[in-house]
Symmetry: C2
Subunit: 172 residues, 2 copies
């Protein structure tokens, strides 16, 4: 996962962000600064809701809408990246000064493992060229079982991980 970074790096990111905003006539508000800092200190993949709770817990008064609006800007200016693990909410991670990576997701325990994206990026360029496509970015995740879960999970049972669970009924 993205690593929490030194104050030094945070400061640089703040400068990038401030400039990005200034260049567009947008304002460097306290909220935006606080959100950027919270994001940079986060060493995990997070979701908007979680970020909101974390910030409130540490004493910031921010609205949910501001979180969403600010994340969008941070994504646009390249400090934050969206990652798509689940089919539900978008997850985010800060990427400022971090090596490009993609993720493996364990279907059983949900563990996330990062790996270097260099090979994938190389491959994407080749594929794109073959199709006269101009690649700008990619999304890549590998789904499967992490080492621990392979051990814990007898071969015969693994297939079930691929199957939809039937809805469990519950009565009032």
């Amino acid at each position: 996962m993205a690593r929490a970074v030194s104050d030094n790096v945070i400061e640089t990111a703040e400068n990038v962000f401030r400039e990005y905003l200034r260049d567009r006539g947008l304002k460097y508000t306290e909220e935006r600064q606080a959100i950027l800092r919270a994001v940079m200190k986060n060493d995990e993949h997070f979701e908007a809701e979680q970020l909101l709770l974390d910030m409130r817990q540490s004493g910031h008064r921010v609205g949910k809408a501001t979180i969403y609006r600010s994340l969008k800007i941070l994504v646009a200016c390249g400090i934050v990246k969206e990652v798509h693990f689940s089919n539900k909410q978008v997850h985010y991670e800060h990427t400022y000064g971090q090596d490009p990576h993609d993720h493996m997701v364990c279907r059983r325990c949900g563990r996330i493992i990062e790996f270097d994206a260099a090979e994938v990026t190389r491959l994407r360029t080749l594929i794109a060229a073959d199709h006269r496509f101009h690649a700008l970015s990619h999304r890549f995740s590998i789904m499967g079982l992490c080492e621990a879960c392979v051990r814990a999970c007898p071969v015969g049972l693994r297939a079930n991980l691929l199957l939809a669970r039937r809805g469990k009924k519950k009565k009032g």
Copy 2:
């Protein structure tokens, strides 16, 4: 995109589906059959809502919930695959008897281009092995500009495609 397939293939898919259901004590209802057929005849990526409308237009009386419930089963039994282009709804495509492929998405015109997934699959296995991960599947999409849009889109403007659009205001 997935291709509409011959009646022959549809029939085989129906058999697979029927068996899948029988094996689990589930029922092969008219609705499920109709949905399977509609899906197999679809040569595009589609969303749940669209499938619902299409089916109703061609005279089937199905509920939205049934569409969602059935798609889930079809995904589980491997006839249908979820694809994730947008950040909103899930898209689906039938994969029965089709070659594994992934997608390139043009950021400008939304065009979807498919490409063979073999290389990606090979790479994913290597990467997984490096991390003692047991890969079962992957999600891969390349984002960028298709040939036509590269031409239509002067270099200087391309960067803007990466930026968030500011919200346009509209009044009553």
